[in-house]
């Protein structure tokens, strides 16, 4: 029976209450026992791997709809300006097929407020002509003074939202009573997503329906945003994303380029493809914002944390979201007295966008580095310090965790941590080696609404149908595994069809480590619904009671030992089909659903040249049940490698005078290469969360990137004594920290005899 319920939904730490329709059997199904099963928990090749590897997969970038025009966007060359746009000359040519400026499309700005802000756009038969068309747009620019300094923005109260204050306990009193207090200022840089498929969309009108082919992480979010922006009924917007080339958080909404394509498609009557160039991508498609963090921690001499304090300035840019940089300091440890203040500085710089565990990556860097400095002061083992401050409930809302196996993660980290004497002993000449660790906390529970259908035909094959997207995380495969497991079918007989809002039910966003925990339970419920129908028919056919029958290994199995190939039932169907429906139920009421983990990094530092080489990272994470160990390992490795880029080589640089972005190209903005990758050891606990859905699975996309920077920087300290407080750990940052460490040692050393 369908029920309309009010429930809490969380995406990347933002909680909202919303209505969801729940039906199907999510809550009615018992979780499978812990451990690998026939299909779920067993390594599976990704179902679309061959298409992607052979270059057959059609990405948005590859679409060539008949009559498509190509758009080019005129962007502000200034960080802040007024633009008077004259499209007359462009429109006068025969070959500029469409031209729009401010007033024609809400994303085009008369007062562009960051370098790269869209001001006007044209469409032509080829991209080459469209770019030439931009030259025919006359703009009178009036350059305005940009605000670029986050501290200055705080002074002037230039904020993107209300400053957030949080406190629990009595922080001042606790600091006064602490045996040891450590403090530090930490800084993180702006990093750029750089998915290899840039942001792009092809938009066309089919009668009264707007079709949007888009590289997106959220088909339904795009549909809803466009329908409300354009005042169209939602189902008059069809959103399609069959294959997409990476997002990492930057592709959660339609984006300016989509609205530009829609406006030009409306003006010209043609399909319009608007694709960002790599340079536009690195200007105007979002970024992980810079932060500065003033942190203070107080502890008793036994290591018990008594007070934590953080002041965070998130340098958001002109718009975007003020992410939870404060999250780790408030949530990770059992500390009674915590106070944070978080500013979201509004600047004349490109807007941020969610980037793989936004806020927590930055906040964990500061907190976990400070914790290691505290351990040093207390002469306490850093792993022991973390054990002593283990939180057995959520102190922010005073809720129990739905599950938490962080202590088990710590135990499994021991053998990696125990390598440190041997690692240090391998220091040689200028190469100093050390080991560091950092804990991880993040969301990842997913939630409703999410729906799936499962279709079984006379060929005994099942198809999972849901209008979600596979952004490269392997969700197609995971969903097929879940359905196969429930239907007792071998995986090769189950496929997952997704990617089209017109061809499947509502599905969740692929962000916030929520895809598997949101979609998986709905898919299982749909498969169970189909299985129930199969068994009902089988019961009639074999004159048995339904309850003695089950599906296993492609067979209908009876409790008394009888078994029949499933074909004996599906063979009766001819063209009839079994249709199962499933919905995601609510999250456990009154509980906090989170993911946990720890990483242990080994580094070598050349103390003469400042070169840092990450040699090994062990990653132990508690994310509930693992559906596909093969794909899960890839997610962990990918997160860690992005974390290494964040820690060592990536930085968006801006001209401090003009506010213009300098690192737009991939020679200047340095992503890790295959030669930068260390040995990575992945260890997922694979313990189902008994309170969470019919699967007990949490999300895995983000946890692995959360502790990487802190673990590496703590290993650097272990190796060299240098305290690095800023990212990236460039040559100059490393050499500076080493020089400071030498100075400290000199000052601290006994006076010369």
């Amino acid at each position: 029976m369908a029920r309309l319920i009010r429930t809490e939904k969380e995406v990347e730490g933002k909680y909202t209450e919303q209505w969801v329709v729940v039906e199907g059997e999510d809550e009615a199904l018992d979780q499978w026992p812990q451990g690998p099963r026939a299909v779920v928990g067993t390594p599976a090749r990704r179902q679309d791997g061959l298409q992607r590897a052979r270059g057959e997969a059609e990405y948005t970038a590859d679409l060539q709809l008949p009559g498509t025009l190509h758009a080019a966007v005129l962007r502000s060359p200034y960080a802040h300006a007024r633009a008077k746009v004259d499209l007359t000359r462009a429109r006068a040519t025969g070959w500029v097929r469409g031209a729009i400026g401010p007033g024609d499309c809400h994303v085009l700005q008369e007062e562009p407020s960051f370098h790269g802000a869209p001001v006007a756009a044209v469409a032509a038969d080829s991209l080459r002509e469209a770019r030439a068309g931009l030259e025919l747009i006359d703009v009178e620019w009036e350059e305005l003074e940009p605000l670029l300094d986050p501290e200055e923005a705080v002074k002037r109260e230039s904020f993107v939202d209300d400053t957030r204050h949080y406190s629990r306990g009595d922080v001042e009193a606790a600091f006064a009573e602490a045996d040891v207090v450590v403090e530090g200022e930490f800084r993180t840089q702006v990093v750029l997503h750089n998915a290899l498929e840039t942001h792009q969309a092809v938009c066309r009108w089919e009668g009264e329906t707007l079709e949007v082919y888009i590289s997106t992480q959220f088909i339904w979010g795009v549909r809803d945003s466009i329908s409300s922006q354009l005042g169209l009924p939602p189902d008059r917007v069809r959103v399609v994303c069959n294959y997409m080339g990476g997002g990492f958080g930057a592709k959660n909404s339609p984006g300016d380029h989509t609205y530009i394509a829609i406006a030009l498609a409306s003006q010209t009557g043609h399909p319009v493809h608007c694709a960002l160039t790599r340079r536009e991508e690195n200007l105007a498609a979002g970024n992980r914002n810079a932060t500065s963090q003033r942190l203070r921690a107080g502890a008793r001499s036994d290591g018990t944390l008594v007070a934590l304090e953080g002041e965070y300035v998130n340098a958001i840019g002109w718009a975007g979201f003020n992410g939870p940089t404060y999250g780790p300091i408030e949530m990770l440890y059992a500390c009674e007295n915590v106070r944070t203040v978080t500013y979201g500085a509004k600047l004349n710089l490109p807007p941020n966008a969610a980037f793989r565990a936004p806020g927590f990556v930055e906040g964990t860097f500061g907190l976990e580095c400070l914790l290691d400095e505290l351990a040093g002061r207390l002469e306490l083992d850093p792993l022991e310090l973390r054990r002593r401050n283990y939180a057995d409930k959520d102190l922010v809302d005073d809720r129990p965790f739905s599950s938490k196996n962080l202590l088990e993660c710590y135990d499994r980290a021991e053998p990696h941590w125990a390598r440190r004497d041997e690692v240090r002993a391998r220091s040689e000449g200028p190469w100093q080696r050390g080991v560091g660790l950092a804990s991880q906390i993040w969301y990842g529970g997913g939630g409703p609404p999410s729906y799936a259908w499962v279709r079984v035909g006379s060929d005994t094959r099942a198809t999972v149908i849901t209008a979600m997207q596979d952004i490269g995380t392997g969700t197609r495969t995971a969903m097929a595994q879940i359905a196969a497991e429930e239907l007792g079918l071998p995986l090769e007989r189950v496929r997952c069809e997704l990617g089209d809002s017109a061809r499947g039910p509502y599905a969740s966003i692929s962000a916030g480590s929520s895809t598997t925990p949101s979609m998986g339970p709905a898919v299982r419920a749909a498969a169970a619904d189909a299985a129930r129908q199969l068994l009902e028919i089988a019961a009639q056919r074999f004159h048995l009671e339904e309850r003695v029958l089950s599906l296993r290994g492609g067979q209908i199995v009876s409790a008394d030992g009888g078994s029949w190939p499933l074909e004996e039932i599906t063979g009766l169907l001819e063209d009839a089909q079994i249709l199962g429906k499933g919905a995601r139920g609510p999250n456990p009421a009154g509980m906090r659903v989170l993911t946990f983990g720890i990483q242990v990094a080994e580094v070598a530092v050349d103390v003469e040249t400042g070169e840092v080489v990450v040699e090994r990272i062990a990653a132990i994470h508690d994310v509930g049940r693992v559906i596909n160990p093969l794909g899960a390992r890839s997610q962990v490795e990918g997160g860690i490698i992005q974390g290494i880029g964040h820690t060592l080589s990536e930085a968006r640089l801006v001209d401090p005078v003009s506010g213009k972005v300098l690192t737009q190209t991939l020679d200047a903005y340095k992503l890790p290469t295959i030669a930068d990758v260390p040995e990575i050891v992945t260890d997922l606990l694979d313990i189902p969360d008994e309170h969470l859905t019919n699967l007990g699975s949490k999300g895995l996309g983000e946890p692995p990137i959360v502790p990487t920077a802190a673990a590496i920087v703590n290993a650097i300290r272990d190796a060299t004594g240098a305290e690095v407080h800023e990212l990236p750990v460039s040559r100059e940052a490393m050499l500076r920290a080493l020089a400071e460490a030498r100075e400290r040692e000199k000052r601290g050393a006994p006076a010369a005899v």
Binding site: R45, R46, D48, G49, L50, R52, A53, R54, G55, E56, A57, E58, Y59, A61, D62, Q64, S126, H193, N194, A195, L196, E197, T198, Y243, M244, G245, G246, F248, T277, R278, I471, G472, T473, G474, L630, G631, R633, S634, Q635, E637, G638, G639, I640, I641, Q642, T665, L666, D667, L671, P672, T673, I674, A675, V677, I680
Partner: protein, 145 residues
Amino acid sequence: MLELKINGGTYEVDPPVGQTLAETLRGDLGLTGTKVACGEGHCGACTVQLDGVPALSCITLVHTVGEREVTTIEGLRDHPLVDAFVRADALQCGFCTPGQIVSAAALVEAEPELTAERVRHAMAGNLCRCGAYPRIEEAILSWRD
């Protein structure tokens, strides 16, 4: 009019001087397996082989290809590396994968006996933002299995 030798076939195209090989492959010939991710030689997604040597099609002017045989991912669809990549889970979003496989195919042709170090040196020109690198290394080292 240019005559291009691609994947064993011959194609006639008539592009303007200044057009790149990638633009010709994707736009004129519909060979969209070759991806363009940066368009200026900084990422390797557009890698094709010219007479078996990896080259960046996004910065190769199509008029300079001449007699050289162009091999794109469409010409390598049955290469054992394709299966090796899927087996090892050496791809996530897959956008860099055709370029990875084209580079790797030239590598294993030139050096059938590879070490991890050689793979890391020879594949450093193909960026993968998803971070499939450990599995790419595994796939290339085990391509004949």
